[in-house]
Point group: C2
Chain length 378, copies 2
């Protein structure tokens, strides 16, 4: 069915979607109800007194206070997304020409945000194939290198709590300990952790936490993120305009001034509950990875997997593409015929997937789908 010149989308109703970008962003029924109710432009501003994050009707302010507790931080604001939250931290703490240390498994937006802020970027390399592990000690080495090369320490360090390629969980408390020793503040990118699994900023020692809510907090609609910090940094990070006293500079007064905010607020009670079921999510992921290994696929990243997002090398599926009449697009089509979407069309040699929010029956169906394809064509 068409609207304007494009087809409507049906994949999350009619298929099991395993695209890691999308599994934990899938909305709940009452989220969709909230979005439709608040859909019109600027409807969140009906009772605004000048600042999005202080709106009391609907209770945005109370929601953000609750989120601060949920994340183990002191204060939180709404942002347009995780990347925008990261840029806000970098833009606040640095000047053009300063240095930043990031991890080798960073999302591209960490790099791009640092580049936009005019920073010199140093990287803590991962251990490479097959584990791609980030060793916390790499941060100390990188700090020393920055100091040796530039004469001073970096202004900030960024760590990807869980990366979007392999689903590795880094020991953030160890990294933050090193950061504290050097006096370098730590920005934790939780795009693939907060909203999916328990995240306690105090325990992890983060000075700043950036969240992706359309990715991992079930807040569909537009794009939306959160930026949380501690009392030590909030005055600076959330500084306001000299001329317009209630307007927070780093979000240009207000960020998500639409129904995305209500979407996030509607999903939040579900999110608070679902992170308690993280063990089950990991169990499901491990079960499927085991099954895929039995079929000849090879998981990358730290094993046994600790996350719903997983990356596999799949020579056995690649071999099939050499003879299948749909060539390298066969896997996409054969999975779709079996009710599964979310593996990027054209990929066969390696791909990533996520089991987040799937029932055990659905995970078993996924194992069956891959097995059936290999048995039929392999």
């Amino acid at each position: 069915m068409k609207v304007a010149e494009f087809e409507l989308r049906d994949r999350d109703e009619d298929y099991i979607n395993i695209n890691p970008l999308q599994t934990a962003g899938k909305t709940y029924a009452d989220t969709r109800k909230a979005i439709i109710s608040y859909i019109d432009g600027y409807s969140v501003c009906d009772w605004c007194k000048g600042d999005l994050c202080s709106i009391e009707k609907p209770p945005v302010k109370k929601f953000l206070e609750d989120v601060s507790g949920f994340l183990g931080m002191d204060s939180t604001i709404l942002t347009n997304g995780c990347r925008e939250a990261k840029y806000s931290v970098l833009h606040t703490l640095t000047e053009h020409g300063d240095s930043v240390v990031v991890d080798g498994n960073k999302h591209y937006t960490t790099y791009v945000a640092a580049e936009r802020a005019g920073l010199k970027i140093y990287e803590v390399k991962s251990s490479g194939h097959p584990e791609f592990k980030i060793e916390p000690e790499g941060y100390a080495e990188a700090f020393e290198k920055v100091k040796a090369e530039t004469g001073r320490l970096p202004k900030v360090a960024v760590l990807t709590h869980v990366d979007g390629s392999y689903g590795n969980i880094v020991d953030s408390a160890k990294v933050s300990g090193i950061c504290r020793d050097y006096g370098v503040p730590l920005l934790l990118n939780t795009a693939y952790s907060s909203g999916r699994m328990p995240v306690d900023g105090k325990k992890l020692g983060a000075d700043f936490i950036a969240c992706s809510c359309h990715k991992s907090w079930a807040a569909g609609g537009g794009n939306i993120g959160l930026l949380a910090t501690t009392d030590e940094w909030s005055d600076n990070l959330f500084r306001q305009s000299t001329e317009y006293k209630v307007k927070t500079l780093e979000i240009l007064g207000c960020s998500t001034r639409g129904s995305s905010t209500l979407a996030l607020m509607a999903s939040y009670p579900h999110v608070k509950e679902r992170v308690k079921r993280w063990d089950t999510e990991v169990e499901n992921a491990r079960w499927l990875v085991d099954e895929l290994e039995r079929l000849g696929l090879k998981p990358l990243g730290v094993q046994p997997t600790e996350h719903d997002l997983n990356f596999v090398e799949s020579d056995v599926l690649y071999e099939i593409s050499q003879t299948h009449k749909k060539k390298n697009f066969y896997l996409y089509h054969e999975l779709k015929r079996r009710g599964v979407v979310g593996v990027k069309a054209g990929l066969t040699k390696q791909f990533k997937f996520s089991t987040y929010g799937k029932s055990r029956e659905q995970v078993e169906h996924l194992a069956w789908a891959f097995k059936d394809i290999i048995e039929k064509f392999g």
Copy 2:
């Protein structure tokens, strides 16, 4: 009815909403259909090849090409909103400590964006009460002042095409002529013009056009904007990461990575048609302003009004608040009882409103509502 801990919103279904922030952001039925279909996190990315603005399925790329023609510009990207578009221009063209010239009727976000970019802000004052007119010649004077004080011209000028307080339309072609004479590029803030009325960037001489699509392009959902420019500036403004070649730095790779994009695309055919009916919009606004004047209210801004947004001084309504038992909140309640919302609760002495998209019958109902309140309580 409640979702999570907040009430659903009903005002745009059950009332005539005259909030200028919201009248032209009201969605169409097929816009809502598109949003619900694409509501889940990152669903616009199903067929992405690395860059939001180049997505062909759904046809984002084709849409943006069409928009460039519609705005009389050469190329256009999606942004998180108008303020984010303005910041991108300022951040691209300036360095910390540079100067910018803005108009006295600017939206606060123009100031805040310039402040975030670390700029010295010079202002072209309006003529003040009652017209608040911006004279194009003021830009030449401001440029001379900047040159005298800082030794060089400002890096960029910003003009609010139609301001959000009085609905004045500034002679942008004249301003851009002056800018061209001085060699200062012009950023046109069309938050209250493009999407409501015809805007031709070439005729207006704009180097950059910033649009607010949740405000004036009927694109509800999350927040969304557009940033258009000419071939002269596009390489610099839309410059890409050195490391990630398809990622546009000023939108951190991708901006509105959700259903907001589809909402805008669904509303766009309606928007293209409705700007052709701008004369009728102005007629309706003038008719209501005339009726309100007859009731003793006094319109501010250039008269006769040229825009759907109008500001009135209303001593006659203020007088009533002195004796009404609901005090200054009476006007909000009495209007609501008569099916009208959108005048800020608590205001009686002066307020703004918009008739955008209202039928003549609705505009007549608005006149009746004010008349009835004054006759009953005045």
